[in-house]
Protein backbone atom coordinates (compact mmCIF):
# COMPACT_ATOMS: atom_id res chain seq x y z
CA UNK A 1 0.00 0.00 0.00
CA UNK A 2 1.43 3.35 -0.98
CA UNK A 3 1.61 6.10 1.58
CA UNK A 4 -0.09 9.44 1.02
CA UNK A 5 2.22 12.41 0.66
CA UNK A 6 2.32 14.75 3.65
CA UNK A 7 2.89 18.03 1.89
CA UNK A 8 4.09 21.10 3.70
CA UNK A 9 1.98 24.25 3.75
CA UNK A 10 4.24 27.25 3.32
CA UNK A 11 2.80 30.04 5.43
CA UNK A 12 3.88 33.41 6.75
CA UNK A 13 5.80 33.89 9.99
CA UNK A 14 4.36 36.74 12.06
CA UNK A 15 4.75 37.30 15.77
CA UNK A 16 6.13 33.82 16.34
CA UNK A 17 3.16 32.13 14.68
CA UNK A 18 2.66 30.74 11.18
CA UNK A 19 -0.57 32.26 9.86
CA UNK A 20 -1.89 32.08 6.33
CA UNK A 21 -2.17 35.38 4.54
CA UNK A 22 -4.99 37.56 5.86
CA UNK A 23 -6.04 37.91 2.21
CA UNK A 24 -6.48 34.16 1.83
CA UNK A 25 -4.40 34.25 -1.35
CA UNK A 26 -1.59 31.96 -2.36
CA UNK A 27 0.61 31.64 -5.41
CA UNK A 28 2.48 28.91 -7.16
CA UNK A 29 6.19 28.68 -6.58
CA UNK A 30 8.14 27.00 -9.32
CA UNK A 31 11.70 25.77 -9.45
CA UNK A 32 14.44 27.35 -11.53
CA UNK A 33 13.51 24.91 -14.29
CA UNK A 34 9.83 25.75 -14.11
CA UNK A 35 8.50 22.73 -12.19
CA UNK A 36 5.84 23.24 -9.57
CA UNK A 37 7.32 23.21 -6.06
CA UNK A 38 4.61 24.40 -3.68
CA UNK A 39 1.91 26.95 -3.04
CA UNK A 40 3.11 29.84 -0.90
CA UNK A 41 0.97 32.35 0.94
CA UNK A 42 0.70 35.60 -1.00
CA UNK A 43 1.08 38.23 1.70
CA UNK A 44 -0.92 41.45 1.52
CA UNK A 45 -0.48 44.93 2.95
CA UNK A 46 -2.48 43.89 5.99
CA UNK A 47 -0.04 41.08 6.66
CA UNK A 48 2.70 43.69 6.51
CA UNK A 49 0.77 45.85 8.96
CA UNK A 50 0.30 42.92 11.35
CA UNK A 51 3.98 42.08 11.06
CA UNK A 52 4.96 45.65 11.93
CA UNK A 53 2.74 45.52 15.01
CA UNK A 54 4.42 42.26 16.04
CA UNK A 55 7.89 43.67 15.39
CA UNK A 56 7.11 46.82 17.36
CA UNK A 57 5.88 44.89 20.37
CA UNK A 58 8.93 42.61 20.28
CA UNK A 59 11.35 45.52 20.11
CA UNK A 60 11.54 46.41 23.81
CA UNK A 61 12.38 42.87 24.86
CA UNK A 62 14.89 42.17 22.09
CA UNK A 63 16.72 45.50 22.21
CA UNK A 64 16.71 45.26 25.99
CA UNK A 65 18.28 41.81 26.01
CA UNK A 66 22.00 41.81 26.69
CA UNK A 67 24.22 41.63 23.60
CA UNK A 68 25.70 38.47 25.09
CA UNK A 69 22.24 36.92 25.19
CA UNK A 70 21.50 37.98 21.60
CA UNK A 71 24.78 36.38 20.55
CA UNK A 72 23.80 33.12 22.19
CA UNK A 73 20.40 33.15 20.53
CA UNK A 74 21.95 33.81 17.11
CA UNK A 75 24.43 31.01 17.66
CA UNK A 76 21.50 28.77 18.48
CA UNK A 77 19.97 29.76 15.13
CA UNK A 78 23.15 28.51 13.44
CA UNK A 79 22.95 25.24 15.38
CA UNK A 80 19.36 24.60 14.34
CA UNK A 81 20.17 25.57 10.74
CA UNK A 82 22.95 23.03 10.79
CA UNK A 83 20.53 20.37 12.03
CA UNK A 84 18.20 21.06 9.10
CA UNK A 85 21.02 21.23 6.58
CA UNK A 86 19.65 18.50 4.30
CA UNK A 87 16.25 20.17 4.01
CA UNK A 88 17.82 23.53 3.18
CA UNK A 89 20.15 22.01 0.58
CA UNK A 90 17.12 20.53 -1.19
CA UNK A 91 15.11 23.73 -1.07
CA UNK A 92 17.97 25.95 -2.17
CA UNK A 93 18.90 23.60 -4.99
CA UNK A 94 15.31 23.51 -6.22
CA UNK A 95 14.76 27.27 -5.86
CA UNK A 96 18.02 28.43 -7.35
CA UNK A 97 18.55 25.64 -9.85
CA UNK A 98 21.98 24.79 -8.52
CA UNK A 99 23.58 21.42 -8.01
CA UNK A 100 23.32 19.74 -4.63
CA UNK A 101 27.01 20.40 -4.13
CA UNK A 102 26.73 24.11 -4.86
CA UNK A 103 23.59 24.38 -2.72
CA UNK A 104 25.45 22.64 0.11
CA UNK A 105 28.19 25.25 -0.08
CA UNK A 106 25.58 28.01 0.04
CA UNK A 107 23.89 26.51 3.12
CA UNK A 108 27.27 26.13 4.84
CA UNK A 109 28.08 29.75 4.06
CA UNK A 110 24.71 30.82 5.47
CA UNK A 111 25.32 28.93 8.71
CA UNK A 112 28.80 30.41 8.99
CA UNK A 113 27.37 33.87 8.42
CA UNK A 114 24.95 33.51 11.31
CA UNK A 115 27.83 32.40 13.53
CA UNK A 116 29.87 35.37 12.34
CA UNK A 117 27.13 37.84 13.28
CA UNK A 118 26.49 35.98 16.54
CA UNK A 119 30.06 36.80 17.45
CA UNK A 120 29.54 40.46 16.65
CA UNK A 121 26.60 41.16 18.96
CA UNK A 122 28.70 42.01 22.02
CA UNK A 123 31.47 43.72 20.04
CA UNK A 124 29.44 46.26 18.12
CA UNK A 125 29.61 48.84 20.90
CA UNK A 126 33.39 48.54 21.19
CA UNK A 127 33.94 49.02 17.48
CA UNK A 128 31.22 51.52 16.57
CA UNK A 129 31.19 53.32 19.93
CA UNK A 130 33.85 55.60 21.32
CA UNK A 131 35.09 57.54 24.31
CA UNK A 132 35.38 60.96 22.71
CA UNK A 133 38.11 63.40 23.72
CA UNK A 134 36.53 66.67 24.89
CA UNK A 135 37.97 69.91 26.30
CA UNK A 136 36.31 69.81 29.69
CA UNK A 137 35.91 67.72 32.82
CA UNK A 138 33.53 65.29 31.17
CA UNK A 139 33.40 61.78 29.90
CA UNK A 140 31.89 61.94 26.45
CA UNK A 141 30.70 58.53 25.32
CA UNK A 142 29.16 57.57 21.99
CA UNK A 143 27.36 54.25 21.89
CA UNK A 144 25.37 52.56 19.10
CA UNK A 145 21.74 51.71 19.80
CA UNK A 146 19.31 49.79 17.58
CA UNK A 147 17.28 51.92 15.15
CA UNK A 148 14.01 50.10 15.87
CA UNK A 149 11.73 48.24 13.50
CA UNK A 150 13.53 47.58 10.23
CA UNK A 151 11.77 46.62 7.00
CA UNK A 152 13.85 44.38 4.77
CA UNK A 153 13.35 43.58 1.11
CA UNK A 154 15.31 40.35 1.00
CA UNK A 155 17.37 39.66 -2.10
CA UNK A 156 15.49 38.17 -5.03
CA UNK A 157 18.25 35.84 -6.16
CA UNK A 158 20.01 34.36 -3.17
CA UNK A 159 17.16 32.72 -1.28
CA UNK A 160 19.04 31.61 1.83
CA UNK A 161 22.56 33.06 2.03
CA UNK A 162 21.31 36.46 0.88
CA UNK A 163 18.36 36.30 3.28
CA UNK A 164 20.53 35.41 6.25
CA UNK A 165 23.05 38.07 5.27
CA UNK A 166 20.42 40.83 5.44
CA UNK A 167 18.47 39.60 8.49
CA UNK A 168 21.31 38.66 10.86
CA UNK A 169 23.02 42.08 10.96
CA UNK A 170 19.70 43.80 11.61
CA UNK A 171 18.76 41.68 14.61
CA UNK A 172 22.33 41.34 15.92
CA UNK A 173 22.29 44.92 17.21
CA UNK A 174 18.81 44.60 18.74
CA UNK A 175 16.49 45.74 15.95
CA UNK A 176 13.41 43.77 15.02
CA UNK A 177 12.65 43.00 11.39
CA UNK A 178 9.82 42.66 8.89
CA UNK A 179 11.21 40.71 5.96
CA UNK A 180 9.63 40.55 2.53
CA UNK A 181 11.15 37.47 0.91
CA UNK A 182 12.26 36.88 -2.62
CA UNK A 183 9.03 36.75 -4.62
CA UNK A 184 10.03 33.82 -6.83
CA UNK A 185 12.18 31.90 -4.33
CA UNK A 186 10.36 32.18 -0.99
CA UNK A 187 10.52 28.60 0.25
CA UNK A 188 13.90 28.60 2.05
CA UNK A 189 12.79 31.78 3.84
CA UNK A 190 9.68 30.10 5.24
CA UNK A 191 11.76 27.18 6.45
CA UNK A 192 14.21 29.68 7.94
CA UNK A 193 11.22 31.04 9.89
CA UNK A 194 10.75 27.58 11.36
CA UNK A 195 14.40 27.62 12.39
CA UNK A 196 13.91 30.98 14.13
CA UNK A 197 10.78 29.74 15.85
CA UNK A 198 12.65 26.83 17.38
CA UNK A 199 15.83 28.59 18.40
CA UNK A 200 14.88 30.95 21.24
CA UNK A 201 14.40 33.99 18.99
CA UNK A 202 11.42 35.68 20.67
CA UNK A 203 8.26 35.82 18.55
CA UNK A 204 8.00 39.04 16.53
CA UNK A 205 11.76 39.72 16.36
CA UNK A 206 11.81 38.46 12.78
CA UNK A 207 8.61 38.38 10.75
CA UNK A 208 8.65 36.83 7.30
CA UNK A 209 6.19 37.70 4.55
CA UNK A 210 6.13 35.86 1.25
CA UNK A 211 4.59 38.18 -1.32
CA UNK A 212 4.89 39.92 -4.65
CA UNK A 213 7.51 42.50 -3.74
CA UNK A 214 6.00 45.31 -5.80
CA UNK A 215 2.63 44.90 -4.08
CA UNK A 216 3.77 45.25 -0.48
CA UNK A 217 7.07 47.14 -0.68
CA UNK A 218 5.52 50.60 -0.84
CA UNK A 219 3.28 49.88 2.18
CA UNK A 220 6.36 48.92 4.14
CA UNK A 221 8.34 51.91 2.89
CA UNK A 222 5.54 54.34 3.75
CA UNK A 223 4.66 52.78 7.12
CA UNK A 224 5.13 55.43 9.81
CA UNK A 225 5.92 52.87 12.49
CA UNK A 226 8.90 51.43 10.61
CA UNK A 227 12.18 53.14 11.46
CA UNK A 228 14.41 51.93 8.65
CA UNK A 229 14.23 50.01 5.40
CA UNK A 230 16.72 47.88 3.57
CA UNK A 231 16.06 48.02 -0.19
CA UNK A 232 18.50 45.28 -1.19
CA UNK A 233 15.69 43.17 -2.66
CA UNK A 234 14.61 45.95 -5.01
CA UNK A 235 17.33 44.64 -7.35
CA UNK A 236 15.74 42.28 -9.82
CA UNK A 237 12.21 42.61 -8.43
CA UNK A 238 9.46 43.08 -11.00
CA UNK A 239 8.00 46.56 -11.02
CA UNK A 240 9.91 47.87 -8.00
CA UNK A 241 11.42 51.35 -8.24
CA UNK A 242 13.81 51.75 -5.32
CA UNK A 243 13.99 55.51 -5.79
CA UNK A 244 10.22 55.81 -5.35
CA UNK A 245 10.46 53.64 -2.24
CA UNK A 246 13.14 55.93 -0.83
CA UNK A 247 10.84 58.90 -1.43
CA UNK A 248 8.02 57.15 0.44
CA UNK A 249 10.42 56.24 3.24
CA UNK A 250 11.18 59.93 3.69
CA UNK A 251 7.64 60.39 5.03
CA UNK A 252 8.85 59.60 8.53
CA UNK A 253 12.59 60.07 7.92
CA UNK A 254 13.39 56.37 7.78
CA UNK A 255 16.95 55.18 7.56
CA UNK A 256 17.29 53.80 4.06
CA UNK A 257 19.89 51.29 2.94
CA UNK A 258 19.99 51.57 -0.82
CA UNK A 259 20.52 48.55 -3.04
CA UNK A 260 23.99 48.01 -4.46
CA UNK A 261 24.32 49.87 -7.75
CA UNK A 262 26.20 49.10 -10.94
CA UNK A 263 26.00 51.74 -13.67
CA UNK A 264 23.10 53.31 -11.81
CA UNK A 265 21.10 50.10 -11.84
CA UNK A 266 20.38 48.10 -8.67
CA UNK A 267 22.19 44.78 -8.58
CA UNK A 268 22.41 41.99 -6.09
CA UNK A 269 25.71 42.01 -4.21
CA UNK A 270 28.09 39.05 -4.10
CA UNK A 271 26.98 37.31 -0.92
CA UNK A 272 30.10 35.19 -0.69
CA UNK A 273 32.23 38.28 -0.08
CA UNK A 274 33.29 39.40 3.40
CA UNK A 275 30.18 41.20 4.69
CA UNK A 276 32.01 43.78 6.76
CA UNK A 277 30.22 45.94 9.29
CA UNK A 278 28.27 48.03 6.79
CA UNK A 279 24.95 46.34 7.38
CA UNK A 280 25.24 46.55 11.15
CA UNK A 281 26.26 50.19 10.96
CA UNK A 282 23.34 51.04 8.69
CA UNK A 283 20.79 50.16 11.37
CA UNK A 284 22.18 51.65 14.56
CA UNK A 285 21.82 55.14 15.96
CA UNK A 286 24.72 56.72 17.80
CA UNK A 287 23.82 58.11 21.18
CA UNK A 288 26.35 60.47 22.75
CA UNK A 289 26.29 61.09 26.47
CA UNK A 290 28.15 63.72 28.51
CA UNK A 291 28.95 62.68 32.04
CA UNK A 292 30.79 64.86 34.55
CA UNK A 293 34.14 63.56 35.74
CA UNK A 294 34.48 63.25 39.49
CA UNK A 295 37.37 62.33 41.67
Amino acid sequence: MSRLDVRKTYKLYIGGAFPRSESGRSYEVVSATGEFLANAAMGSRKDVRDAVVAARSALAGWSGATPYNRGQVLYRVAEVLEGRRTQFVEEVAASEGSSARAAGAVVDAAIDRVVWYAGWTDKIAQVLGNLNPVAGPFFNVSAPEPTGVVGILAPQGSSLLGLVSVVAPVIASGNTAVVVTSADRPLPAVTFGEVLATSDVPGGVVNIITARTAEVASWLAAHRDVNAIDLTGAAGADGVDWGALEVEAAGNLKRVLRPALADGQPVEPDWSADPGLGRIRAFVETKTVWHPKGL
Binding site: R56, W219, R224, D225
Partner: protein, 329 residues
Protein backbone atom coordinates in the same frame (compact mmCIF):
# COMPACT_ATOMS: atom_id res chain seq x y z
CA UNK B 1 -21.40 69.96 22.68
CA UNK B 2 -23.12 66.87 23.98
CA UNK B 3 -26.64 67.43 25.14
CA UNK B 4 -27.92 65.09 27.74
CA UNK B 5 -31.49 64.84 28.79
CA UNK B 6 -31.87 63.95 32.39
CA UNK B 7 -35.11 62.90 33.88
CA UNK B 8 -35.51 64.31 37.34
CA UNK B 9 -38.05 62.38 39.27
CA UNK B 10 -38.54 61.94 42.95
CA UNK B 11 -38.15 58.60 44.70
CA UNK B 12 -41.93 58.40 44.99
CA UNK B 13 -42.30 58.94 41.26
CA UNK B 14 -39.77 56.20 40.53
CA UNK B 15 -41.48 53.75 42.83
CA UNK B 16 -44.87 54.65 41.44
CA UNK B 17 -43.64 54.13 37.91
CA UNK B 18 -42.05 50.84 38.91
CA UNK B 19 -45.33 49.66 40.43
CA UNK B 20 -47.02 50.65 37.24
CA UNK B 21 -44.60 48.69 35.06
CA UNK B 22 -44.78 45.66 37.30
CA UNK B 23 -48.54 45.92 37.72
CA UNK B 24 -48.41 45.56 41.48
CA UNK B 25 -49.82 47.67 44.28
CA UNK B 26 -46.74 47.47 46.48
CA UNK B 27 -43.11 47.28 45.37
CA UNK B 28 -41.64 44.39 47.35
CA UNK B 29 -38.59 42.28 46.73
CA UNK B 30 -40.96 39.44 45.94
CA UNK B 31 -42.69 41.51 43.27
CA UNK B 32 -39.37 42.54 41.76
CA UNK B 33 -38.11 38.97 41.78
CA UNK B 34 -41.24 37.65 40.07
CA UNK B 35 -40.98 40.35 37.43
CA UNK B 36 -37.26 40.00 36.76
CA UNK B 37 -37.39 36.22 36.70
CA UNK B 38 -40.40 36.38 34.40
CA UNK B 39 -38.34 38.11 31.71
CA UNK B 40 -37.49 35.56 29.01
CA UNK B 41 -34.04 34.00 29.39
CA UNK B 42 -31.20 34.65 26.99
CA UNK B 43 -30.39 32.05 24.35
CA UNK B 44 -26.66 31.94 25.02
CA UNK B 45 -25.63 30.20 21.82
CA UNK B 46 -27.91 32.34 19.66
CA UNK B 47 -26.77 35.54 21.33
CA UNK B 48 -23.10 34.75 20.88
CA UNK B 49 -23.61 33.69 17.29
CA UNK B 50 -25.54 36.88 16.50
CA UNK B 51 -22.85 39.02 18.14
CA UNK B 52 -20.14 37.20 16.22
CA UNK B 53 -21.97 37.52 12.90
CA UNK B 54 -22.48 41.26 13.39
CA UNK B 55 -18.73 41.49 13.99
CA UNK B 56 -17.98 40.28 10.49
CA UNK B 57 -19.39 43.29 8.63
CA UNK B 58 -16.87 44.98 6.39
CA UNK B 59 -16.82 48.74 7.00
CA UNK B 60 -14.50 50.51 4.57
CA UNK B 61 -13.53 53.88 3.06
CA UNK B 62 -16.11 56.65 3.64
CA UNK B 63 -18.16 54.49 6.01
CA UNK B 64 -15.03 53.76 7.98
CA UNK B 65 -14.13 57.45 8.14
CA UNK B 66 -17.62 58.22 9.42
CA UNK B 67 -17.45 55.40 11.95
CA UNK B 68 -14.08 56.56 13.26
CA UNK B 69 -15.25 60.13 13.78
CA UNK B 70 -18.50 58.94 15.35
CA UNK B 71 -16.64 56.62 17.69
CA UNK B 72 -14.22 59.35 18.77
CA UNK B 73 -17.20 61.55 19.61
CA UNK B 74 -18.65 58.77 21.77
CA UNK B 75 -15.62 58.15 23.93
CA UNK B 76 -15.61 58.76 27.65
CA UNK B 77 -11.84 59.24 27.87
CA UNK B 78 -11.01 57.53 31.09
CA UNK B 79 -8.32 57.47 33.70
CA UNK B 80 -9.20 55.55 36.85
CA UNK B 81 -5.94 54.62 38.51
CA UNK B 82 -4.90 54.85 42.11
CA UNK B 83 -1.81 56.62 40.78
CA UNK B 84 -3.77 59.37 39.00
CA UNK B 85 -2.28 62.79 39.59
CA UNK B 86 -3.58 66.28 38.92
CA UNK B 87 -1.02 66.50 36.13
CA UNK B 88 -2.20 63.29 34.52
CA UNK B 89 -5.84 64.42 34.56
CA UNK B 90 -4.86 67.77 33.07
CA UNK B 91 -2.90 66.13 30.29
CA UNK B 92 -5.84 63.84 29.55
CA UNK B 93 -8.10 66.89 29.35
CA UNK B 94 -5.62 68.56 27.01
CA UNK B 95 -5.79 65.48 24.84
CA UNK B 96 -9.59 65.61 24.83
CA UNK B 97 -9.50 69.25 23.75
CA UNK B 98 -7.03 68.58 20.93
CA UNK B 99 -7.04 64.85 20.21
CA UNK B 100 -4.78 65.14 17.17
CA UNK B 101 -2.63 68.28 16.88
CA UNK B 102 -1.78 67.27 13.31
CA UNK B 103 -5.41 67.50 12.27
CA UNK B 104 -7.71 70.14 13.77
CA UNK B 105 -10.76 68.58 12.13
CA UNK B 106 -10.58 65.65 14.55
CA UNK B 107 -13.72 65.52 16.70
CA UNK B 108 -13.48 65.66 20.47
CA UNK B 109 -14.51 62.87 22.81
CA UNK B 110 -17.79 63.24 24.68
CA UNK B 111 -16.47 63.26 28.22
CA UNK B 112 -13.58 62.79 30.57
CA UNK B 113 -14.14 60.07 33.18
CA UNK B 114 -12.23 60.40 36.46
CA UNK B 115 -12.48 59.67 40.15
CA UNK B 116 -14.59 62.10 42.16
CA UNK B 117 -11.68 63.97 43.71
CA UNK B 118 -10.36 64.86 40.24
CA UNK B 119 -13.61 66.41 39.01
CA UNK B 120 -12.65 69.98 39.92
CA UNK B 121 -9.30 69.60 38.18
CA UNK B 122 -10.92 68.21 35.04
CA UNK B 123 -13.65 70.83 35.10
CA UNK B 124 -11.10 73.64 35.30
CA UNK B 125 -9.00 72.16 32.51
CA UNK B 126 -11.95 71.65 30.17
CA UNK B 127 -13.54 75.04 30.80
CA UNK B 128 -16.51 75.76 28.57
CA UNK B 129 -15.41 73.38 25.82
CA UNK B 130 -18.63 71.39 26.14
CA UNK B 131 -16.76 68.20 27.02
CA UNK B 132 -18.50 66.65 29.99
CA UNK B 133 -16.86 65.50 33.17
CA UNK B 134 -18.02 62.10 34.37
CA UNK B 135 -17.11 60.92 37.84
CA UNK B 136 -17.21 57.41 39.18
CA UNK B 137 -18.88 57.28 42.57
CA UNK B 138 -20.48 54.98 45.14
CA UNK B 139 -17.27 53.31 46.31
CA UNK B 140 -16.13 52.49 42.79
CA UNK B 141 -15.13 49.86 41.73
CA UNK B 142 -16.31 47.39 44.40
CA UNK B 143 -19.39 49.26 45.61
CA UNK B 144 -18.78 47.83 49.04
CA UNK B 145 -19.69 50.74 51.29
CA UNK B 146 -22.73 51.78 53.25
CA UNK B 147 -25.45 53.77 51.48
CA UNK B 148 -24.68 57.07 53.30
CA UNK B 149 -21.05 56.80 52.17
CA UNK B 150 -22.14 56.11 48.60
CA UNK B 151 -24.52 59.06 48.63
CA UNK B 152 -21.89 61.36 50.12
CA UNK B 153 -19.44 60.20 47.44
CA UNK B 154 -22.02 61.03 44.77
CA UNK B 155 -22.95 64.46 46.19
CA UNK B 156 -19.31 65.33 46.55
CA UNK B 157 -18.69 64.70 42.85
CA UNK B 158 -21.82 66.54 41.78
CA UNK B 159 -20.92 69.56 43.91
CA UNK B 160 -17.46 69.59 42.34
CA UNK B 161 -19.21 70.02 39.00
CA UNK B 162 -19.56 66.53 37.56
CA UNK B 163 -22.00 66.42 34.65
CA UNK B 164 -22.35 62.66 34.78
CA UNK B 165 -22.08 60.11 37.58
CA UNK B 166 -21.02 56.52 36.96
CA UNK B 167 -22.27 54.43 39.89
CA UNK B 168 -21.71 50.75 40.57
CA UNK B 169 -24.54 48.49 41.70
CA UNK B 170 -24.23 46.30 44.77
CA UNK B 171 -23.44 43.03 43.00
CA UNK B 172 -23.50 41.14 46.29
CA UNK B 173 -27.10 42.17 46.89
CA UNK B 174 -28.02 41.48 43.28
CA UNK B 175 -26.52 37.99 43.25
CA UNK B 176 -28.16 37.07 46.56
CA UNK B 177 -31.53 38.04 45.11
CA UNK B 178 -31.99 41.22 47.12
CA UNK B 179 -33.21 43.20 44.13
CA UNK B 180 -35.12 45.73 46.21
CA UNK B 181 -31.89 46.91 47.87
CA UNK B 182 -30.28 47.38 44.47
CA UNK B 183 -33.37 49.22 43.21
CA UNK B 184 -33.51 51.49 46.24
CA UNK B 185 -29.80 52.29 46.13
CA UNK B 186 -29.93 53.25 42.47
CA UNK B 187 -32.97 55.41 43.21
CA UNK B 188 -31.25 57.16 46.12
CA UNK B 189 -28.10 57.79 44.10
CA UNK B 190 -30.29 59.14 41.29
CA UNK B 191 -31.75 61.66 43.73
CA UNK B 192 -28.27 62.58 44.95
CA UNK B 193 -27.21 63.22 41.36
CA UNK B 194 -29.61 66.12 41.04
CA UNK B 195 -29.22 67.36 37.51
CA UNK B 196 -26.27 65.10 36.73
CA UNK B 197 -26.74 62.22 34.38
CA UNK B 198 -26.63 58.76 36.02
CA UNK B 199 -24.85 55.81 34.45
CA UNK B 200 -25.39 52.51 36.23
CA UNK B 201 -22.43 50.12 36.09
CA UNK B 202 -23.63 46.53 36.33
CA UNK B 203 -20.16 44.91 36.28
CA UNK B 204 -21.34 42.19 33.93
CA UNK B 205 -18.13 40.21 34.46
CA UNK B 206 -19.36 39.44 37.96
CA UNK B 207 -22.96 38.69 37.07
CA UNK B 208 -22.06 35.18 35.81
CA UNK B 209 -24.95 34.61 33.37
CA UNK B 210 -26.52 36.45 30.46
CA UNK B 211 -29.90 36.10 32.18
CA UNK B 212 -28.50 38.11 35.07
CA UNK B 213 -27.20 40.77 32.67
CA UNK B 214 -30.68 41.12 31.21
CA UNK B 215 -32.27 41.29 34.68
CA UNK B 216 -29.73 43.82 35.93
CA UNK B 217 -30.35 45.95 32.83
CA UNK B 218 -34.09 46.01 33.46
CA UNK B 219 -33.61 46.64 37.17
CA UNK B 220 -31.26 49.56 36.49
CA UNK B 221 -33.66 51.10 34.01
CA UNK B 222 -36.60 50.57 36.34
CA UNK B 223 -34.69 52.37 39.09
CA UNK B 224 -34.12 55.43 36.92
CA UNK B 225 -30.67 55.00 35.39
CA UNK B 226 -30.07 57.27 32.37
CA UNK B 227 -27.44 54.90 31.02
CA UNK B 228 -26.59 51.27 31.64
CA UNK B 229 -22.89 50.51 31.57
CA UNK B 230 -21.20 47.14 31.35
CA UNK B 231 -18.16 47.31 33.55
CA UNK B 232 -15.78 49.17 35.77
CA UNK B 233 -12.81 48.08 33.68
CA UNK B 234 -11.28 46.59 36.82
CA UNK B 235 -12.75 43.11 36.38
CA UNK B 236 -12.12 40.68 33.53
CA UNK B 237 -14.07 40.02 31.39
CA UNK B 238 -15.14 43.63 30.89
CA UNK B 239 -17.29 44.70 27.95
CA UNK B 240 -18.01 41.97 25.43
CA UNK B 241 -20.12 42.00 22.30
CA UNK B 242 -22.77 39.50 23.50
CA UNK B 243 -23.27 41.36 26.78
CA UNK B 244 -23.63 44.66 24.94
CA UNK B 245 -26.08 43.02 22.55
CA UNK B 246 -28.28 41.99 25.47
CA UNK B 247 -28.14 45.50 26.91
CA UNK B 248 -29.00 47.08 23.56
CA UNK B 249 -31.99 44.76 23.24
CA UNK B 250 -33.00 45.75 26.76
CA UNK B 251 -32.93 49.51 26.09
CA UNK B 252 -34.79 49.03 22.81
CA UNK B 253 -37.51 46.97 24.50
CA UNK B 254 -37.60 49.36 27.46
CA UNK B 255 -38.46 52.23 25.16
CA UNK B 256 -41.22 50.11 23.62
CA UNK B 257 -42.53 49.38 27.10
CA UNK B 258 -42.26 52.75 28.81
CA UNK B 259 -41.40 55.35 26.20
CA UNK B 260 -38.21 56.21 28.06
CA UNK B 261 -34.94 56.01 26.15
CA UNK B 262 -31.90 54.80 28.08
CA UNK B 263 -28.29 54.91 26.85
CA UNK B 264 -25.69 52.14 26.75
CA UNK B 265 -22.01 52.34 27.60
CA UNK B 266 -19.68 49.39 27.08
CA UNK B 267 -16.47 49.98 29.01
CA UNK B 268 -13.20 48.17 29.43
CA UNK B 269 -11.25 46.11 26.95
CA UNK B 270 -12.30 48.03 23.82
CA UNK B 271 -8.91 48.92 22.45
CA UNK B 272 -9.00 48.93 18.68
CA UNK B 273 -10.87 50.68 15.92
CA UNK B 274 -12.03 47.31 14.67
CA UNK B 275 -13.64 46.58 18.06
CA UNK B 276 -15.29 49.99 18.17
CA UNK B 277 -16.76 49.57 14.69
CA UNK B 278 -18.20 46.19 15.66
CA UNK B 279 -20.01 47.90 18.52
CA UNK B 280 -21.34 50.63 16.23
CA UNK B 281 -22.68 48.01 13.81
CA UNK B 282 -24.41 46.37 16.74
CA UNK B 283 -25.93 49.64 17.95
CA UNK B 284 -27.36 50.28 14.52
CA UNK B 285 -28.65 46.74 14.03
CA UNK B 286 -30.04 46.02 17.49
CA UNK B 287 -31.11 49.30 19.06
CA UNK B 288 -31.41 51.42 15.93
CA UNK B 289 -29.98 54.69 14.71
CA UNK B 290 -31.68 56.64 17.49
CA UNK B 291 -28.89 55.39 19.72
CA UNK B 292 -26.13 56.31 17.29
CA UNK B 293 -25.17 59.54 19.06
CA UNK B 294 -22.99 60.39 22.06
CA UNK B 295 -26.18 61.22 23.92
CA UNK B 296 -27.22 57.55 23.89
CA UNK B 297 -24.10 55.51 23.31
CA UNK B 298 -20.64 55.85 24.81
CA UNK B 299 -17.38 53.94 24.92
CA UNK B 300 -15.56 53.82 28.22
CA UNK B 301 -11.97 53.67 27.02
CA UNK B 302 -8.51 55.13 27.21
CA UNK B 303 -6.22 53.48 24.65
CA UNK B 304 -9.04 53.23 22.08
CA UNK B 305 -8.68 56.92 21.23
CA UNK B 306 -5.08 56.49 20.10
CA UNK B 307 -5.96 53.60 17.83
CA UNK B 308 -8.84 55.57 16.31
CA UNK B 309 -6.46 58.47 15.70
CA UNK B 310 -3.93 56.18 14.03
CA UNK B 311 -6.65 54.82 11.73
CA UNK B 312 -7.82 58.35 11.01
CA UNK B 313 -4.28 59.34 10.05
CA UNK B 314 -4.03 56.26 7.86
CA UNK B 315 -7.15 57.32 5.97
CA UNK B 316 -5.85 60.88 5.62
CA UNK B 317 -2.28 60.12 4.53
CA UNK B 318 -2.66 56.73 2.88
CA UNK B 319 0.24 55.34 4.92
CA UNK B 320 0.01 53.24 8.06
CA UNK B 321 0.68 55.40 11.07
CA UNK B 322 2.59 54.58 14.21
CA UNK B 323 2.78 55.22 17.93
CA UNK B 324 5.22 58.10 17.34
CA UNK B 325 2.29 60.13 16.01
CA UNK B 326 0.01 60.02 19.04
CA UNK B 327 0.56 60.90 22.67
CA UNK B 328 1.70 58.43 25.27
CA UNK B 329 -0.99 58.35 27.95
Amino acid sequence: MVTVSTTTRTAQDLTAQARDVLGVSRLTNHALTSWLHGIPGVDQVGCEARAASLGTRSIKTTSKAWAIDTAIGMIDLTTLEGADTVGKVRSLCAKALVPDPLDPTTPRPAAICVYGDMVATAKAALGDSGIHVAAVATAFPSGRASLPVKLADTRDAVEAGADEIDMVIDRGAFLSGDYLTVFNQIGEVKQACGGAHLKVIMETGELVTYDNVRRASYLSMLAGGDFIKTSTGKVAPAATLPVTLIMLEAVRDWRELTGVQVGVKPAGGIKTTKDAIKYLVMVSEIAGDDWMTPEWFRFGASSLLNDLLLQRQKLATGAYSGADYVTID
